[in-house]
Structure formats: C-alpha cells, structure tokens
C-alpha cells in the first residue's frame, strides 16, 4: 500500500482501445502523483491522450477502451481491477471531474439545485431537503449570484460561465481529494476563463484539493500549475516543475510547442509544428514524435526511457538526443 496521504498515484498506466479488432495504446506507461493543493498540468495537442488519461482515472472510458496495465491509486485504493461498486463509491466522493463543455454537461431537464446536491444524496446519505440546502451553499461558494432563487432554475437559464461555475459546484459537492479539470475554460470568454481559474485556485487553497488540469493553453499552465507533463501520441515526453519547463524546455516537441505559442515581446513569427499527429493505426514504433522531429535518428526506433535533465531528478525527458547531452 502506498502513501495514503497522496490522494492520487498513477503508476505505469496503459489505456488501450479496440478499433476494428485491433488494439491501440492511446496512453502508454503513464506515471504521476498529485499531492494536496498541487496543480499538475497535462498539455499536448488534440488527440495526444490527455482526455483519455482523465477518463481512465475517472473510470469513465467508452466501452471499447480499458486500462490494460498499471495501477491507479485513489487514497491508496487501486481502481484498476476494482469492481464497479467500489469505483462508483469513489467517483464524485474523492475524485471529481469538470468537463470542457459547460453547455452540454448539465442535464437540461433537471433543476440546477438538484443536480448540484445529487452527489451528496448518493455519497453522504443526505435527504432531498438537506442536499438542497447544501447546494445553495455550494452555489454561493462558486459565486453564483442569487443562489437561493436559482436552485429551481434549469441549465438553459444560465450563461456559459455560470454553467461552468455550477459544474464546479457539482463536482466539489463532496469533500473531493482530486479534481480533474478537462479544458475547463476552453469554451469560455477570456475574462470568464480567468474568473473560473481563480475560483478553482481559491477552492484548492481552502479545501486542500489536488488538481489535474488538462489544457492546451500554455499561458494557463504558467499561471496556475506547479508541475507540467507534456504528452505526445499517448506518451509523456517531458515532466518538469513549471519554472524549469519554461526556462529549459528539453524535448524537441516541448520546444516546438513553446515556439508555437504567441508572445507579446517576441517580434519573431509563430513557428507551427510541421505535420500532424499520425492516426492511431499509423503510430511509428519507438518514439512516436520521430516522424515530425528535426532531431530524429535511427535509435529513435526504440522508445527512449524517461531520464533526468542535467541531473535534475524532478525534470525528466523521453528523448535519446537530449538525455545524452
């Protein structure tokens, strides 16, 4: 049994999906931990396996996909191989998730107050009346104005930003240990984005919540995360504290991502990454980035291990060209 004080430990998790009879690994050998009050950012292009990682941890994978190796420990309980009842009892109680699309993630035919309080009825055995009272407090916590009057309102009566607040209240209803936020601000206006992120940061401070933040916005990463993991084609290619990552992006893909990010001070043009992520069936062996990598070499046909950068055990990279330096 691992340290129960660490709310989420993922060890060597591989998630595979069966498409037309063939098994594809969409997440390979992923390991990370999330500590209380820590935000771990998971970045990468669309289709790199970020959302699959989140759904694997939550146990909400589509029917064709499953975790085929590794462990996912929530408060020391391994979810891989646990029965559905165990997983259900942790979901929404210890582990919660907010989704990218606040417009479609709330049920259009159920009142907001009921949706927010439902997890409390499920996990804490609260009555409908008690859950409603708690839902009002939660909506006030996420700063929904006139919360008491809006308990009986329906999602279509809320704006996108308000719905995302409701989603956060809903996910946080029980005393969560880990919140998984899958691009929580992508669908929102820039000003609302900042409010939502500030709200999550506040809650993190007072509730001791650990957050796995999935995003492709490196600006968000720089402002709220302590650690970064860069994913490409289902592999973690670089893992580092935020300061070290921005000071010294080491994997060729990380450098390319940063070069593709707009900057105010830089007069130089944006540099898009040439090519695109290969389709699942066409992933090269070994390092999956080598078909687009300027440093590709014959030995990249074998998957490089994660190795420390310049002797820093906190900053790891998966690249033959960079780890030898």
């Amino acid at each position: 049994m691992t340290d129960a004080a660490v709310p989420l430990v993922v060890e060597g998790m591989t998630t595979s999906i069966r498409l037309q009879g063939r098994l594809h690994h969409v997440v390979r050998d992923m390991s990370f931990v999330i500590r209380p009050r820590e935000t771990l950012a998971l970045v990468g292009e669309s289709g790199c396996g970020k959302s699959m990682t989140a759904l694997s941890v939550m146990g909400l994978l589509p029917p064709a996909a499953s975790i085929t190796a590794g462990r996912v420990l929530v408060d020391g309980v391994d979810l891989v191989g646990a029965d559905e009842a165990t997983r259900e009892s942790l979901r929404g109680d210890r582990l919660g998730m907010i989704f990218q699309e606040p417009m479609t993630s709330l049920n259009p035919v159920l009142p907001i107050g009921f949706q927010v309080g439902e997890a409390l009825m499920r996990h804490r055995g609260l009555s409908k009346r008690q859950a409603r009272e708690k839902a009002r407090e939660l909506l006030e916590l996420v700063r929904v104005p006139a919360a008491a009057e809006r308990l009986d309102a329906y999602p279509h009566q809320f704006s996108g930003g308000m719905r995302q607040r409701v989603m956060i209240a809903l996910a946080l209803a029980c005393r969560l240990r880990v919140l998984i936020a899958d691009e929580p601000t992508t669908a929102l206006d820039v000003t609302i984005q900042a409010q939502v992120l500030a709200l999550v940061a506040d809650l993190q401070r007072c509730e001791g919540l650990g957050v796995l933040l999935i995003t492709h916005n490196l600006g968000v990463v720089a402002s709220v995360a302590q650690r970064v993991m860069v994913m490409y084609g289902g592999d973690v290619v670089e893992s580092a504290p935020v300061a070290a990552f921005f000071a010294r992006p080491t994997h060729p893909y990380s450098s390319a991502l940063l070069a593709a990010m707009p900057r105010i001070e830089g007069g130089s043009q944006l540099q898009p990454i040439p090519g695109q992520v290969p389709p699942l069936g066409d992933m090269p062996d070994g390092c999956r980035f080598r078909s687009r990598c300027p440093l590709a070499h014959e030995r990249c046909a074998a998957l490089p291990p994660m190795t420390p950068v310049a002797g820093d055990p906190d900053h790891l990279v998966r690249c033959w060209a960079r780890s030898d330096a």
């Binding site: 929404g92 259009p108 035919v109 499920r122 279509h156 809903l170």
Partner: protein, 313 residues
Amino acid sequence: MIRFVIKRLLVAIPTLWAVLTTVFILVRVVPGDPTMVILGDQASEAARAALREKLGLGKPILAQYIDFMTQVLHGDLGRSLATNRPIVDDVLAVLPWTIELTLASLVVGAVIGIPLGVLAAEKRDGFADWFARIFSLAGVSFPAFVSGILLLLAFSVELRWFPVISTAKSDDWFGRLRALVLPSINLGLLMVAYVTRVTRSGMLQALGEDYVRTARSKGLGRRLVVWRHAFPNVLVPVVTVVGLYLGVLIGNAVLTEIVFNRPGIGKLIVTALNQRDYTLLQGLMVVSAFAIVIANILTDLTYGLVDPRVKTA
C-alpha cells in the same frame, strides 16, 4: 403554465375553423348530385327535390356555410339520413367505447414500449435489442385483423380468460375491463412498436450525451443514470410519437372493433359508408377532426410538463 395553456387553446381556434371549412367544402365538391348518391338513380325528381330541400342544398353556398357553422357551434351535427336520429346522440353513445379503447392502447404501448426501448438501448446489439427490434417490426407489419383473431383464438377460445364478444353492460366495471384487455392489446401492439423504436433511438443518443457522463462522474449507479438522467430527455420524442399516432389509432380502431365486435367511432364510420349516410359521415369527420386537434393540444401541453425549456419559450 396557465398562459401557455391559454395561448395553445387560442391557436387551436383557427385550426378548428379550417378543419370545419374543409369538411364543408369536401362534402360539396364531391362530383355528382348528392341526392342521386343517396336515393339511387331510380328515384323520382320529386323525391330528389324534397331531399334537396331537407338538406338545405337549394340555398346559396354561403348561406349553407353559415347554417353549417352555426349548427356545429351549437353542438348540433344534424340528423342521420338512414335513421333520422340526431347524429350527436349516435356519436355520444359510442364515444366512451372509443375513448376507453384508445386510452387503454396508449397505456399498453407506453407500459410495454418504454421499458423495452430503454432495455434495447442499454444492451445495444444484445439479446434484448434484437428481441425489441423484431417485436417492433412485427407490431408494425402485422395486420390488426390477423393479430386480433390470433388473440381471440388463444386467450378466449382456448384459455377462456377473456370474453369473445367485447360488449358488456356499462355498470359492470369488472366485465367491461375484462372485455377491454384483448382489444387494447391488439390495438396497442402498433403503439408498442412505435414507442419502442423511438425510445430506443432516443436513449441511444441520450446515453452518449455529456450530461450522462456528468451523472456517472458523480458516482451514480446504472439505474439512476439511465432512468433519472437519460430517460427524461427522451420523453419529448416519445410524447410526439404518442400524440401523432393517436390519430392513427382512431383510424386503426375500425378493424379491432369489428374483430372483437365492439361499438365505436370506427364501426360507426363503416356503417355510415355502407348506408351512404352522408350527413352521418360529415358529422363523424367533424368529430374525428376535433379528436385529433384535442390530441395535439394535449401533446403540446405535455411538452410543457416534460421539458422545462418549452414553458419559458
């Protein structure tokens, strides 16, 4: 909600007016002299003139139209040519039979169709799904007179659970309910088929929606996710189908009423056709049209109950 009801009722007025006008015109544009149709080509000119006078066909068309509308608005549908009884009385005598049969078939359709559709969607391509698909295909394609006779043979003649002839005295509630079982199953099979299909496809879509994922992320079990979160979103298409096929049911009731020997609007229509009872037919058209308009209003009102987005719209 009350404003929604009033608004919907007001919208029904022009619809009903259009329906009545259409019935009026339809009856009068049918080619040929109606007196010839009613009395046959051997009738004397004097008899035909008398009938024309009785039907008010001698008057200018506008006067006929005003007469017709005034009558209908006073709840008077005229007298039957065949029996000379007021048509309203004939209709009211059989209307309860039609209403109870239609409602019972609706209940059969919902009680069997909804769980079957939900189960089929949940276990997509599994045994339940195949069963539901074959069952609903059979329900649509099986003629009502064949399924009716099979039901009679099995449950009335062999097992003797239900009466062969469905007429029972109206004060004998148990007898009347018992007589209702087989006809409503027979007529309801069609409803089961439609409801199963629309529930299945609606549930397949709903189960893939983001809000179902949200419900699962709260740790809710399968039953709550399906029935509390996914199913209520399927009610709108289900209510639509039920409302639409209410009209079809009234039409299909004819065969069921004949096989089970029940009185009803359907059978009255057949009688009117056979006897060339042209005023009775006109009255029945008005009654059927009213029934469908009322069914539509009820459907719209139900939308307001099942979908919170309709109320405020």
